[in-house]
């Protein structure tokens, strides 16, 4: 196959993977909100597909690297895809973890889902959406927005931590469920971090400069 077509093909595959991951996260968050066990199970079973796609993408990258020895922009693209691939797979795993918490929380209806979780879910969902949009359109401004959102997510997560601490003191009987909630919050925070990584990779792809750890 021609080099150009292989790159196109790889891009399509990465986008499909990102769509899968995004849908998974959306479903997992919805499962938390609506305490929908069936949806949570769907997310858990969909993880296999994400894993196998990740391997496919990685193999494609290696194949292109070995066969065509791309340079300049194309090389940056392949490197960025390799890294994003990794991040996407991690997000998929975290979505699976959230779905597992959702299964657990569905059986503990006495624990209310606090507002912070849905705020976190919204923010993280937006970040993932924006960083993928930035990937599709190669828009560095959008990618920069994602990086800015990360701080807000971190703030909400630490707020959540305090909240759970107080709740545990108030109702020690609910400790399992509350710790589950805290896990969900932490997973979301980690997802936001991965989304930030993807955004930085998009910036790298566009500018050719490594933007990580900059102030």
């Amino acid at each position: 196959m021609i080099f150009f077509r292989e790159i196109e093909h790889l891009k399509k595959k990465l986008l499909t993977l990102s769509a899968l991951v995004e849908e998974d996260l959306k479903d997992a968050l919805k499962a938390i909100r609506t305490r929908d066990k069936r949806l949570a199970e769907e997310v858990i079973s969909a993880d296999n597909e994400i894993d196998s796609m990740e391997i496919e993408v990685e193999e494609d990258c290696l194949k292109i690297l070995a066969l065509h020895q791309p340079v300049a922009r194309d090389l940056r693209f392949i490197i960025a895809v390799l890294k994003m691939n990794n991040d996407l797979e991690r997000i998929g795993d975290l979505a699976l973890n959230i779905a597992e918490r959702a299964l657990f929380l569905a059986d503990h209806r006495e624990i209310e889902i606090p507002e912070q979780i849905s705020m976190l879910a919204d923010k993280t969902g937006t970040m993932l959406k924006k960083c993928l949009d930035a990937l599709v359109t190669l828009d560095e401004k959008l990618a920069a927005e994602v990086c800015a959102l990360d701080d807000e997510v971190d703030a909400i997560h630490s707020e959540m931590y305090d909240f759970i601490k107080k709740e545990i003191i108030r109702t020690p009987a609910h400790i399992d469920g509350l710790l589950g909630l805290l896990s969900v919050s932490r997973y979301l925070e980690r997802i936001a971090d991965h989304a930030t990584n993807i955004a930085e990779d998009v910036m790298y792809l566009v500018q050719g400069e490594i933007m990580r750890h900059r102030l």
Partner: protein
């Protein structure tokens, strides 16, 4: 590469041809002239030599050779010709211009050599004596068959050559003039020829730039005139075609964008060729921005991507189903078919997305309704049946049981009655609302609300709940007073039932420009968010056990909703857990 201008392409050959013709003509005419002239001089010189021959022959016969130089001089002067007499051995005997003794032996000169053989000879040579190009003619003088003397006449050719050079100069000047004339003519002709071509080119460029209204100026020549006309006609036709195409495109766009179903057309590489507004809205993307992108880039949804692959590859029309997750899930029925060009080759696929969310929900509603009605009716009937059987089995004879059972039977019968009553009024309101049979009249709102509050007064007092009413007595609205009162009292009924003791239920009316809102607010436990969308469905209960205990039929809110809808208004609910709920009836004021 710079292209040669047309003018050079035919000016140059013409020009070369003219110059060559002139050159050949000049050369040919001058050389012919020269030849004729030379021939003439030769004949003349020979004739003179022959004239001298007679006299010299006499001298030879009489042996007076000593007179030769003197005769030469005399004759030479008379004939303005140089005359030389040479002996057979080549010695010059006499010359009209030189001293014969000083001259060398002439035997080797070509004309002399020829004459010595007995023939007339001649040659053109550069004369060593005079230093001028000269023509020589020689005639032999023979005695008894032996050449004894040779008479040579000579004439310088300088004047001949001068006149020929003069002729050549004239011819060349004339030729140059003709050449200039020809060049000027070619230039004018070429301009004439290229000007219409230029104007046609300008026209063609305008057409190419899309200015089809441009008209090429008429040209007088038949060929270019016809060409310009043909181009103009072509432009008009193109213009017309473009208009038709644009119109068809606009129509197609209008049809596509006003369709409720989403339509996505993709090519064989899964690039979005076209996407209508409905499809773009469904996936939350920008329809124009999506065109030309891969489906994976344009729409981040794996279900539609998978379906697109199926639609592209399957020869039969494909069908599928998917759910688009979002704030509100949309259930989509998918239809896909291959797109084929004129020759039947697959060029892509078209996917139609049919939003069946409402349809599915209605189906569920109907199914649930039948199940609910049966269930709601079955509970009291089972109870009545059970107690009646117990009574028949002998309990009727035990007064204390009998009265309690009869009371239960009465209560359950009453409940059945309520349910059926509510169902009937629901279907009546629905039918009347659909047919527009509901009688509306403009009336004051406050009395209606007052009687609604009053109707639930006893119940509120029993539960220690206060119902407050806040309504401007001047407000009038077009309504069916009886129905609206029923709707509001249903809401108050609910509010009172769910209020804790010693709390208040507020009924308040607010007026906006075109609408007025009746709010019924309680301070109960609130309703969990997931129940809100389905609250107004028939028999929908948040807490099944509790509701039925409270004697609710599960139809109150459904009735209220249908009444409000018959009024052209809307009903909504806002609820916060732990704080209470507000039901809002919004009615149009006109």
């Amino acid at each position: 590469m710079r292209k040669k201008r047309l003018i050079w392409r035919f000016a140059l050959p013409f020009f070369t041809l003219t110059v060559a013709a002139l050159f050949i003509f000049t050369w040919y005419s001058t050389s012919t002239m020269k030849e004729r002239y030379f021939e003439h001089v030769r004949v003349d010189l020979l004739a003179r030599a022959h004239l001298v021959q007679v006299e010299i022959a006499e001298l030879l016969v009489s042996g007076r050779l000593a007179e030769v130089p003197e005769i030469c001089n005399r004759l030479g002067r008379l004939a303005s010709t140089r005359i030389t007499i040479i002996a057979a051995d080549g010695t010059v005997l006499g010359d009209s211009m030189e001293d014969p003794k000083a001259m060398e032996n002439h035997r080797e000169r070509p004309e002399i050599a020829e004459a010595l053989e007995g023939r007339d000879g001649n040659s053109i040579r550069y004369s060593r004596t005079t230093g001028i190009n000269t023509m020589y003619a020689a005639a032999p003088v023979a005695v008894d068959g032996t050449v004894r003397l040779v008479i040579r006449t000579a004439l310088p050719l300088s004047s001949v050559e001068e006149s020929i050079a003069d002729l050549r100069t004239r011819l060349i000047i004339g030729g140059l003039l003709i050449t200039l004339l020809v060049a000027a003519m070619i230039f004018v002709l070429a301009r004439r020829l290229t000007r219409p071509i230029d104007s046609i080119r300008t026209g063609a460029e305008q057409y190419a730039a899309g200015n089809l209204a441009f008209r090429i100026p008429k040209d007088e020549s038949a060929e270019f005139g016809a060409l310009a006309d043909a181009l103009t006609a072509m432009a008009q036709q193109l213009d017309e075609r473009f208009r038709t195409i644009m119109q068809q495109r606009n129509e197609q766009d209008a049809v596509l964008s006003s369709m409720i179903e989403g339509v996505i057309a993709i090519d064989r590489e899964e690039r979005a060729l076209d996407m209508n507004t409905a499809a773009a809205t469904l996936f939350g993307v920008d329809a124009d921005g999506a065109k030309g992108l891969h489906l994976q880039e344009a729409v981040r949804n794996t279900d539609i991507q998978r379906f697109a692959t199926v639609a592209l590859t399957s020869p039969e029309p494909a069908e599928g189903f998917m759910i688009v997750r979002g704030a509100e899930d949309r259930q989509l029925q998918l239809h896909g078919a291959q797109l084929r060009d004129g020759s039947g080759r697959g060029i892509g696929a078209v996917v139609v997305l049919h939003d069946v969310t409402r349809l599915r929900r209605l189906e569920t509603l109907r199914r649930d309704f039948v199940a609910n009605v049966s269930h709601e009716l079955k509970t009291p009937v089972t109870s009545i049946k059970g107690f009646v059987e117990t009574l028949l089995d002998g309990a009727a004879d035990e007064p204390e049981h009998r009265d309690r059972f009869l009371a239960i039977i009465a209560k359950e019968a009453e409940r059945l009655h309520h349910i059926i009553e509510d169902l009937l009024s629901l279907s009546r309101i629905e039918q009347e609302g659909e047919r527009g049979d509901v009688a509306f009249e403009s009336a004051l709102l406050r009395p209606v609300l007052e009687s609604a509050v009053e109707s639930r007064d006893t119940m509120a007092k029993e539960r220690g709940v206060t119902v407050t009413l806040e309504c401007d007595p001047q407000i009038a609205v077009r309504m069916n007073a009886h129905l609206l009162e029923e709707a509001v009292s249903n809401l108050i009924d609910n509010a009172v039932k769910y209020s804790a003791e010693n709390r208040t239920v507020d009924v308040a009316v607010t007026v906006a420009d075109a609408t007025l809102t009746i709010a019924v607010r309680d301070r109960g436990p609130g309703i969990p968010g997931e129940h809100l969308p389905r609250l107004f469905e028939r028999f929908y209960r948040v807490d099944r056990a509790r509701d039925r205990r409270s004697g609710s039929t599960g139809l109150g809110l459904a009735i209220a909703k249908h009444i409000v809808q018959a009024h052209g208004g809307t009903i909504a609910v806002e609820s916060t857990l732990g704080e209470g709920s507000s039901f809002l009836i919004t009615l149009p004021r006109k």
